[in-house]
């Protein structure tokens, strides 16, 4: 993620001044942000705030993937989309907003549902990925791709009054290298039975609950991007999961997670998941997750 760095323009010192003076960011961090490309998969309740704060911070290239259109029932929590955008592609609606917030960076639109065939070509162009989707099949697909292509993944989810956040494949190392961070399959080797999976449409979700998780995804992404070795080593020692519950006491809890699973189907020495198995269609994520009626998975 570290391409050639050139100094900032005068306007950028003005725009980013309040974060440039932070010792954790500084000029080096700002240049890293500028030279990094981030893919946000899903432009809903998580993706909207995540995209807004990453654009605000000056991430050089932001890619947005979503095949859905804006619906009125999205607006209570997907606060980039506005009432007059109902019916428009979510990617277009979000890009319209983001360009008005920060016209100095690059936005790439992927108006599509993600699948094993189209995903590798999209993911290849980015340094870091945010999973802002809403179903298990896409979560496994995104994690597998991040391992196979060597990208760190910031993954979050929310439902009702609760949220969960974890950073996967951090540091991003080749399959079989036990010093790499765990992947989604390390933590969840088997998918949940389909009948236990509740969507936000069925279970509901409160706007600021999913909003908090999305903003935290942006924060973790920035931390990964500006990371230098000493921070990275201290963090990667203990992979962790952040649990949030609006009515919990305490509301936030940090959980220590396991490291890479020696027999993980994706990140171990002898993985059964490969780019070839993805493109050949031999990996059916919807079947794997027990989806009876395989519609668009994103």
């Amino acid at each position: 993620p570290r391409k050639n760095a050139w100094p900032l323009m005068p306007q950028e010192y003005k725009r980013y001044g309040r974060q440039l003076i932070l010792p954790e960011i500084g000029l080096n961090g700002q240049l890293r942000l500028k030279n990094t490309s981030v893919l946000i998969v899903g432009v809903g309740g998580l993706g909207c705030p995540a995209a807004a704060y990453l654009a605000g911070a000056g991430v050089g290239t932001i890619g947005l993937v979503d095949g859905d259109i804006v619906e009125e029932s999205n607006l209570h929590r997907q606060t980039l989309h506005t009432t007059e955008k109902v019916g428009m592609s979510k990617v277009d609606s979000a890009t319209f907003y983001l360009k008005s917030l920060n016209p100095t960076i690059k936005y790439v639109s992927h108006r599509t549902h993600l699948n094993p065939q189209n995903a590798p070509d999209i993911f290849r162009h980015y340094d870091l990925v945010l999973d802002c989707t809403d179903n298990p099949a896409s979560r496994y697909l995104i994690s597998d791709l991040c391992v196979l292509l060597g990208k760190t993944l910031v993954s979050a989810s929310a439902l009702r009054m609760e949220g969960q956040l974890l950073i996967l494949n951090y540091p991003p190392r080749a399959p079989g290298d036990s010093s790499g961070g765990p992947c989604y399959r390390c933590v969840f080797p088997k998918p949940p039975p389909a009948e236990t999976v509740v969507t936000c449409g069925e279970g509901g979700v409160l706007g600021p609950v999913v909003g908090v998780m999305g903003v935290l995804q942006a924060l973790e992404a920035i931390k990964v991007i500006v990371d230098d070795s000493h921070l990275l080593s201290s963090q990667s020692e203990t992979p962790s999961l952040l649990l949030f519950s609006a009515y919990g006491t305490p509301p936030f809890r940090s959980i220590r997670l396991r490291s890479r699973r020696p027999r993980c189907a994706c990140c171990s020495e002898q993985p059964s998941v490969s780019l070839a198995s993805l493109s050949s269609g031999s990996l059916d994520y919807q079947l794997f997750c027990g989806i009876a009626n395989p519609a668009n998975i994103l």
Partner: protein, 108 residues
């Protein structure tokens, strides 16, 4: 909470929707015998069956266990650590342990 006699006291928590299977309460105080009927110290494995038999009022047991194990998609946390760091189902319950069952969320 201290131990009284032959029981071990612990806190059991449910989140991510699992609390709905347990009287809609997130936090429960649970008291287990120190020694299982088999004569061995009580483990998480024992606790899971105990919760299923005694604490769970909901009849949909398969939303919590599958083939005698916690079902896929539920994280078991022992004092805020993934149970895989602590010996999984064989972990022996200690007094005042906090055991948490978290159903993973997928919405966004």
């Amino acid at each position: 909470m201290a131990d009284t006699g032959d029981n071990v006291h612990l806190t059991v928590e449910f989140s991510g929707g699992l609390e709905m299977l347990f009287s809609n309460r997130r936090k429960h105080s649970v008291s287990l015998p120190k020694i299982s009927p088999k004569g061995t110290p009580v483990t998480i494995d024992f606790l899971v069956k105990y919760l299923c038999d005694h604490l769970m009022k909901d009849s949909r047991k398969d939303l919590f266990i599958m083939e005698d194990n916690v079902r896929p998609g539920i994280l078991v946390l022992i004092n805020d650590s993934d149970w895989e760091l602590e010996g999984e189902a064989d972990y022996e319950i200690q007094p005042n342990d906090n055991i948490m069952f978290v159903s993973t969320l997928h919405g966004g």
